[in-house]
Amino acid sequence: MEELAISIRELYMSYGSKQVLKGISIDVPKGQIIGYIGPNGAGKSTTVKIFLGLLTGYKGVVKVMGEDISNGSVEYKRKIGYVPETAEIFDNLTAREYITFLGQLYGMAYEETDKKAYKLMELFGIEQVYDSRITSYSKGMKQKVLLISSLIHNPDILFLDEPLSGLDANSVMVFKEIMSHLARQGKTIFYSSHIMEVVEKISDRIILINNGSIVADGTFDQLKDQSKEGSLEDIFNQLTGFDKHKQLADEFVNIIGA
């Protein structure tokens, strides 16, 4: 049996009286790219945040590399890389300071992190701002720093939440390649996005959640067979019970023109 990178059993989470996750179970073997999709507020970010220990008070069992994350040890986090959707950065630091800081927290040596970080910045074409404060960066530059800082320690599992936002088309292509390379190396990628075309192309498996429950789980082809729809976007609309886009668009245009 192949080893599981991630395993979730009956995961429940609520904020006050509002139930956000209603019993989710997922098993992810190593080396898979999971497209984790769902409408706004479906519970995607909540799931990811639970993995990283940012949220506590959930019910259920969450295991990373066979280790229960509620056992109080933080060691499992060494194997995780995380790109949050709305990322907070200590942006008064320079990229050098920020990335080396995080690298050292992962237990890497300063020189090693520094060298790696510079090379990666070079690859992304932003090495000239390595010693500038992150506040002065453009959106794309910030995103690149974020990607570098979450991959610098060579993690086994990646949680990426809209990792491509703000990147130009060329960088998007580079990063998509990077992801498939990493998957081939046996790394697991948990990929959340609203851009269905990308998810459709890169994912080995797609998990769609709606209202805190899983409504579909399988490869793109399986999903296509199930729902008799052509694209992931259509499948998404169908499974989330959304079919009013034409009508809403009509109304929208009418209101603008009124």
Partner: protein, 554 residues
């Protein structure tokens, strides 16, 4: 990155920390990053390339505290009884530490960014907590030392070694107590409110505090004129409730060799209460914060603001701004002023000062002699001209209108089809007058009419017109940028101070003319007419700016 003194000190304890299941290297790194961030908390947006190590903001603020500490220490030499004197000194020190802790603590304590960045990394919660505690403690010690250091030195010269040692010990106890008091306050706020509301409450608290400190400064000086130096202190039961007496008691025992029961009990309280409260802080309050900090992120969206454009406000804005675009800016400015916290923190204290300062001057001679006689004396005088001080202060604050935390949002002005910036400037200035100056002058006038009688109504009309005149002049000179388009820190302190001084001078000049006009028959009426005409002329010309004349950062 440079090496910090704290880090070097900390290295000495590394062994002990490691034994306690703390990842020392991580702790060291987190602290180092925090101190670096602190030293840069003035984001210089575009100058980020080089020279970032050179500006040391914490050091500068330390000088400020040190200076205040020096002022406080002068009291050591005032010829009062030791007990009384120490009460005053300790009171000032406690208040200053408390005030700084409350405003600084909020940024450290309520920092969720910190958690979001560090929690996904393999950092133990214990390490993170310790880093936070050391960080807060480090600040507390620095501020406390700067504030009390000069006094300790002065005490050494006046009372000797033992006295200043006891004083130092007490300062340590006081720090613990202050820590407890600040956290209790935040504890209560966190308990009662959540999310955005909490930030609002803290904001209002900071406003009140700023006002309080400044006014307290005014009064501490005055108190000495009133108080009698030879008062014999008779202890009363409620003295036990005043923290400064606890700490002043042992000092008094040392200096005056007075070992009366009151001093003994007070001295005991000085030790017991800080120790107990610090214990409570560590045991109950810290864990509570850890659990509830998440609240800050979850703004429930329940307490949405109601649309504020009520019928009356619609009427006002329509009357003030006949032009549609201008009216939009008017409403926009009003909304911005009442919603942006940092702006409020700058504006509201100055509004309160503008109201209070005239009365401090008016009542200055009330303290001398009989109170009732003083009131009569005031009633017949021309001291209401002090209102000009308030008018000047309120006019200076108009320069804040170009500041905003979200100054980058100012691109909208350029994207909009607005032909002349005059529309935006005029709408914003009108909104500022309605939101800020009009309420101020109304309240000031009412208070003055009550105090001086209706005879001063013509004077008030003149003061109102002169206020508009000052405001427009200052707006024309100082506000060379669109509303909410400049960063707060980017303020050019020097030029602003010079301009403010010029404005105060102009204000004094107008007051002088006003005063002179009172000796001429119909003088005030003529003055009203002249001021009104000048105001109208300047109003007509003051918005004639081109887009290119305006400073614009983006």
């Amino acid at each position: 990155m440079k090496e910090f003194v704290l880090i070097r000190l900390l290295d000495k304890t590394a062994g002990a920390l490691k034994k306690n299941d703390i990842d020392y290297l991580q702790l060291r790194m987190i602290l180092k990053i925090k101190l670096t961030l602190d030293s840069r908390n003035v984001p210089t947006v575009l100058s980020g390339t080089r020279n970032i190590e050179n500006r040391n903001i914490p050091l500068l603020s330390m000088f400020m505290y040190g200076f205040m500490g020096l002022m406080i220490s002068i009291f050591v030499w005032v010829p009062f009884s030791t007990f009384y004197k120490m009460n005053i000194i300790l009171g000032m020190i406690i208040f200053m530490i408390l005030a700084t802790m409350i405003s600084d603590f909020s940024t450290v304590l309520l920092d969720v960014k910190d958690k979001n960045i560090l929690m996904p990394r393999p950092v133990k919660e214990k390490t993170l907590k310790l880093a936070k505690t050391i960080h807060v403690f480090y600040y507390l010690v620095r501020i406390t030392l700067a504030l009390s250091g000069p006094t300790i030195v002065m005490c050494y010269f006046k009372y000797g070694m033992l006295f200043s040692l006891v004083f130092l010990l007490e300062i340590i106890l006081i720090s613990g107590l202050v820590m407890f008091l600040t956290s209790i306050l935040y504890f209560l706020i966190l308990r009662l409110f959540d999310g955005e509301k909490l930030k609002d409450i803290i904001n209002y608290f900071q406003i009140t505090l700023t006002v309080f400190i400044t006014i307290a400064y005014q009064f501490i000086g005055r108190m000495f004129d009133v108080s009698e130096t030879s008062v014999h202190f008779v202890p009363k039961w409620w003295n036990y409730l005043i923290p400064t007496t606890w700490f002043a008691a042992p000092l008094n025992m040392l200096a005056e060799k007075d070992f009366a029961g009151f001093y003994m009990y007070s001295a005991a309280l000085a030790v017991i209460i800080p120790v107990i409260s610090f214990g409570v802080y560590i045991k109950y309050i810290v864990p509570y914060f850890e659990r509830n900090l998440q609240k800050l992120n979850n703004s429930s969206g329940k307490n949405q603001k109601k649309e504020r454009n009520s019928g009356l406000q619609k009427l006002v804005s329509a009357a003030a701004c006949p032009d549609m675009q201008e009216r939009a800016v008017f409403k926009f400015t009003r909304d911005m002023i009442s919603s942006e916290r940092k702006l409020k923190l700058q504006l509201y204290p100055s509004l309160v000062f503008a109201f209070i300062m005239p009365f401090i001057f008016i009542f200055m001679n009330l303290f001398k002699g009989n109170f009732a006689e003083g009131l009569v004396r005031i009633k017949g005088s021309n001291t209401y001209l002090c209102v000009y001080i308030g008018i000047a202060m309120a006019s200076i604050s108009v320069s804040f209108i170009s500041k905003s935390e979200k100054f980058r949002g100012a691109w909208i002005y350029k994207a909009l089809p607005v032909e002349k910036p005059a529309i935006i400037l005029r709408g914003a200035l009108k909104a500022f007058i309605f939101k800020f100056n009009l309420p101020l002058i109304t309240v000031l006038s009412l208070a003055c009419v009550l105090l001086y009688g209706p005879r001063i109504i013509p004077d008030i009309i003149l003061m109102f017109i002169n206020m508009l005149l000052l405001l427009i002049c200052f707006f024309r000179i100082a506000a060379k940028s669109l509303p909410f388009s400049q960063e707060f820190q980017g303020m050019k302190q020097g030029t602003n101070a010079a301009l403010s001084f010029a404005l105060l001078f102009l204000s004094g000049f107008l007051a002088l003319i006003h005063f002179g006009a009172k000796f001429i028959p119909f003088g005030v009426t003529v003055n009203i007419a002249v001021s009104a005409v000048i105001t109208m002329i300047i109003w007509h010309y003051c918005f004639k700016t081109d887009w290119n004349d305006l400073e614009y950062t983006s």
